[in-house]
């Protein structure tokens, strides 16, 4: 663990706070779905656990983790898009 990672965390927290606090209530539900999808980034850890073949426990847990994270990625981005597609202004259509 590196001290620089603390900087990264703090700065990302600032960015997150500023960005999210400006998301209008209109899109709060898609926001929750989007963060769900992004949480699938734990794939970067679970793929390594599942694929580095270091011991059976890691492989098994890793594969389950890959499946869970991938489900969030696929499901999360799809449903976010599905919701966002529904939001439209007067006079525009979605079809």
């Amino acid at each position: 663990m590196d001290i620089v990672d603390v900087y990264v965390f703090v700065l990302a927290g600032f960015v997150g706070y500023q960005v999210i606090s400006r998301v209008p209530a209109l899109l709060h539900t898609p926001l929750m779905a989007a963060t769900n999808a992004i949480s699938g980034i734990s794939l970067v850890g679970s793929l390594v656990a599942a694929g580095s073949g270091r011991n059976t426990v890691a492989t098994v847990l890793g594969v389950i983790a890959v499946a869970c994270a991938m489900a969030n990625v696929v499901g999360g981005f799809l449903i976010t898009d599905r919701m966002l597609r529904m939001f439209r202004r007067t006079g525009t259509t979605n079809k």
Binding site: V8, T29, L47, A65, M70, I79, D81, R82, L84, M86
Partner: protein
């Protein structure tokens, strides 16, 4: 080495794209494109990981990815909009589970291969599995209560606080001890087990309707667990994505608790859901005036300006499509229809917006509380559809009411108020609503969808 750089670049680009994606959600018309960018970032990060030299076999990875896709597709495409709260709680469980399992796998591997685990890394790992495991079971209970296969009412028993505190104390003790002695694996696994129990016991005593707050907190915890994974693995994209998710959950729970008139600490320390003894005024001796669908249709058909106030009952009744249909009829007759959205109307942040969007209501007709509250005075009719607490004037006038001080929609200032609900039962806060007894308020009893269908038929016939 050049592979290493490739991986690093994909992670950096993915981090930036995630931020841009979330930023795009500040503008409805850029949101879709922005989220596509975020998805591209995810793809890049996955590819960047797959080319890593540590990965020696792809068989099991493929299985995991395939299973995940098969589970994720229906979660994305088939789940109806009305099931969104439970759907999201369910996903938090998956996210937290993935983070926890990665933490356990990393710990196990370090231990069996004899790598020394530094105090800092152990702290990150312990934090990760603690918050991860707690979120897994907590989200599962939230999911169960929202999907209504677990009892929605608070499950309480005597001495519950004592048990929770004891569990938490042991878990924290193990946490500290592990930092000093990382090789104490029994303690590690015991801590994971305790965390799952804490998650259960924390959420079971909370009422089903309070789940959205829990959900947001779980979102935040899952994010923090992911960030901790990043610290443990020295992976910045995990730290960044985790921090973004953590901030999002945190902000949403603050927004909700403010709009529900709860102190944030009240929410943070799990003391919600307890039924306060209300000293609120009751409705003894007051009468309500009912209205028939025919009369309601007559009034609505000729109204120049209507403000629709949707609430949780609209979601229950699935009445959003009928509302849009009625609005179109009113507009054809020359009236104007706007929608007033209270920040906590419904059972999830943004609940009403997404349902109305589903029914094809343009989002520029949806107004936030602050935008529209001054306009009720000019409206001919406030049409309240399954909303209750968010239009309760007691929040303004009755200091004894548990919702006193909560910002509400000024529906009572409209010239006439028509309320669609099934009976006189109270809303989420469990209190009487004096608005229903006012002289300019008419009640149209019945399921909102059924009532609206009849009103629509009458307007068409007129």
């Amino acid at each position: 080495m050049s592979r290493e750089i490739l991986t690093q670049v994909t992670y950096l680009v993915a981090s930036v794209l995630f931020i841009l994606g979330l930023r795009s959600l500040t503008k409805p018309d850029q949101a879709r494109r922005g989220m596509n960018l975020a998805a591209l970032g995810m793809l890049l990060a996955i590819v960047g990981t797959l080319v890593k030299t540590e990965i020696v076999s792809y068989g099991w990875i493929a299985v995991g990815l395939a299973v995940g896709t098969v589970i994720g597709y229906p979660l994305g495409m088939w789940v109806p909009m009305t099931a969104m709260p439970q759907r999201i709680a369910f996903s938090h469980m998956f996210g937290a589970l993935a983070a926890t399992l990665v933490g356990v796998a990393e710990y196990h591997t370090d231990l069996t291969e004899g790598h020394p685990i530094s105090g800092a890394k152990m702290a990150a790992l312990a934090f990760e599995v603690l918050f991860g495991a707690l979120t897994v079971t907590g989200s599962f209970v939230a999911f169960g209560k929202l999907a209504e296969f677990l009892p929605g009412r608070p499950v309480t028993y005597k001495g519950q606080n004592g048990v929770n505190l004891a569990l938490a104390a042991v878990a924290v003790g193990l946490f500290v001890y592990l930092i000093i002695r990382p090789e104490f694996s029994a303690g590690f696994y015991l801590m994971v087990g305790l965390a799952t129990l804490i998650g259960l016991f924390l959420v079971l005593p909370i009422g089903g309707a309070d789940m959205p707050v829990v959900m947001s907190l779980m979102n935040s915890y899952a994010g923090l667990a992911a960030a901790a994974t990043g610290f443990a693995l020295g992976n910045e994209v995990l730290i960044i994505a985790g921090a973004l998710d953590g901030a999002s959950g945190f902000i949403l729970s603050v927004v909700m608790s403010k709009a529900m008139n709860r102190s944030f600490s009240n929410v943070l320390f799990g003391a919600f859901g307890s039924v306060q003894p209300t000293t609120a005024r009751t409705a003894e001796g007051m009468t309500v005036s009912e209205i028939s669908p025919e009369d309601a249709a007559l009034q609505l058909g000729y109204a120049k300006s209507v403000i629709v106030v949707p609430g949780y009952g609209m979601a229950v009744a699935q009445a959003q499509h009928q509302i849009r249909e009625l609005a179109e009829l009113i507009e054809k007759n020359g009236g104007e229809v706007r929608y007033a959205i209270h920040p906590v109307a419904g059972r999830m942040p943004g609940h009403m917006n997404v349902l109305l969007a589903e029914a094809n209501v343009p989002y520029d007709r949806l107004y936030d509380m602050e935008e529209i509250n001054d306009r009720f005075g000019e409206a001919d009719i406030a049409l309240i559809i399954g909303a209750n607490d968010v239009v309760n004037p007691a929040a303004r006038t009755d200091p004894g009411s548990p919702i006193y001080g909560m910002p509400i929609l000024n529906a009572d200032m409209a010239r006439r108020v028509i309320v669609l609900k099934r009976g006189m039962s109270p809303g989420f806060a469990g209190i009487e609503n004096e608005l229903f007894y006012r002289p300019n308020t008419s009640m149209l009893f019945g399921d909102a969808k059924a009532s609206l269908t009849r009103v629509i038929a009458e307007v068409k016939a007129a």
